[in-house]
């Protein structure tokens, strides 16, 4: 099963934001989208989530047209993490995480809530923040809470085989090193549980280390798509970013230059 964009084009305010873009995210795979600002990465994500309808082309979820899938069903299939608004009212951290728990008619499911809740809050290292007010947290802590919510949305009992997808837009922005690694490792763990993941990253090192496939975007087009070692070459990256880039292979963990 997979999420697909097929020949998607979109014009906004007379600018061609996406030009005939196609992309596939398979279950169990991490696809990272990279590219300079203004390439159309966030727009691509928004078309994939269904926020925006493209002018032409199709968005396909598991072989079904997105527009034939109800809004609620979409929420069961994919969860999204992107730019966050501030919360006007003083919710608890627990409330915010809980917002990811979609009401499921199945009562067997709702009895799993506390198990699921404990699992994701522990995983994201926010279990000690649960009783605090969300607005009193630091930016990084708030992000981890939103991440926990996003994970909760996709939570399934272990015997489930539902296809699930996680879409993230620059989730590591403003995160400290340990949080960054925590998040990426969680993504890796999810991928091995067969969740399909699309993550927009600005950090090329992170992308190359964690992604199974890379999509490089520029000017509304996907210039290359494939395994990191195949497409991340000196010349190609330099031409994309218009800044001299040297690629070095390091068998150990990622180094930061």
């Amino acid at each position: 099963m997979s999420l697909n964009l097929k020949s998607v084009s979109l014009k906004l305010d007379n600018r061609q934001i996406l030009k005939d873009v196609s992309l596939e995210i398979n279950e169990g795979e991490i696809v990272s989208v990279i590219g300079p600002n203004g390439a159309g990465k966030s727009t691509l994500l928004n078309v994939l989530t269904g926020d925006i309808t493209p002018d032409s082309g199709d968005t396909i979820y598991d072989n079904r047209q997105l527009n034939k899938i109800s809004i609620q069903e979409r929420a069961f299939t994919r969860s999204v993490m992107s730019q966050m608004q501030t919360l006007v009212f003083n919710f608890n951290v627990k409330d915010v995480v809980e917002m990811g728990w979609l009401q499921r008619g199945n009562s067997d499911f709702s009895s799993n809530f506390s198990i699921a809740f404990e699992a994701v809050t522990k995983e994201c290292n926010v279990q000690n923040l649960v009783h605090r007010k969300f607005n009193s947290l630091s930016g990084g802590e708030q992000r981890r809470v939103h991440f926990a919510r996003t994970l909760l949305q996709l939570w399934r009992p272990s015997q489930s085989n539902d296809p699930r997808y996680l879409l993230l837009d620059e989730p590591t922005a403003n995160l400290d090193l340990s949080s960054e690694m925590l998040l990426m490792n969680i993504l890796k763990a999810r991928a091995s549980s067969n969740v399909g993941i699309l993550v927009i990253l600005h950090d090329l090192n992170l992308a190359s280390h964690f992604a199974d496939k890379i999509a490089i975007m520029k000017d509304g087009e996907i210039k290359a798509f494939g395994k990191p070692e195949e497409i991340m070459t000196d010349d190609f990256l330099t031409s994309i970013y218009e800044v001299p880039i040297k690629v070095k292979y390091d068998p150990l963990r990622v180094r930061y230059y």
Binding site: R74, M84, Q85, F89, N90, F91, Q103, S110, Q153
Partner: protein, 347 residues
Amino acid sequence: MTSRAQSIKSSITEFISSKQLLILFLLCIFTFVSVFIAIGTGSYDLSIINFILGKNTGLQNIVLLEIRVPRVILSAIVGASLGIAGAALQGLFRNPLADPGLIGVSAGAALGATTIIVIGANFFPNLYLGSFLLPVAAISGACFVIFMLYVLTKGFGYQGVTYMLLVGIAVNAIAGVGIGILTYISSDAELRSLTFWTMGSFGGVTWPLLIPAIIIITISLIFLIPNARKLDLLQLGEPEAYRLGIDVQRVKLSIIFTSASAVGASVALSGMIGFVGLVVPHLVRLIGGVNHKYLLPGSALMGACLMIIADLFSRILLQPAEIPVGLITSAIGSPFFLWLIFRMKRL
């Protein structure tokens, strides 16, 4: 527990804490107590105990059943409508200063009422239309605004609540012009009726007027309360809410229209009563928290209590005369409003 019982239990206890459930329960009790006290207190000398024991005179019973009880019930219903509509609109607009007046519904109702006060008298001089035509006109005014809101927001689709607020401001302005013109051409007598209507009062309500109001408002509340969880999710922003499975456009329309209906019916019967929609949700949040499954019913209950008490004061402070209840709610509401603003600045 059977799975059916389980799902009923979880639909009540999900997304609301036990502390909050307790507060709601206490508010229920408080409301009943207020109703009882309000029915038993007033200028006219009578007691409920005597009524139950059958010891009241016929006149006392008439005053009790035809004057006091409908009045107290109306104040409770109007208070509940304004309270819950205020909470829903603050959630929808993600703005703690939102108020039913903001979306223009009160102005629409006022426009309808003004039209009838100023012009109606000229067209229907021989018919005694008095107390019934006014509420009908006010509800029509509110419906007109609702219709305008519907047409204007539907055509522009996914535009966000800022746009809706702007539409509300525009509607208020238009209604204001209409009311201004009508006020200017009004005779002195009409002007004074108008002034008193804009200060709000529960006097003069009778059962035939009350029953349609109860129906409209109850239906609105029934449609509003299931939106509680969705209002929580909307706090993350409209894109996020959509991604969590909420049909945002539908929720927006549903909340706007049910609030407008409830508020329109209330304004129609009792005139403009301000601040309740603004103040009550904040009080309820202060006491128990912000999630809407608690907030919406809590605001309805507290709104009812507050209004019952305000009406009680309006009846007894200057007896046998009455103070318009809108003055009392403004007197309490304005300082609270100021305090609210200062508190926001600190955050």
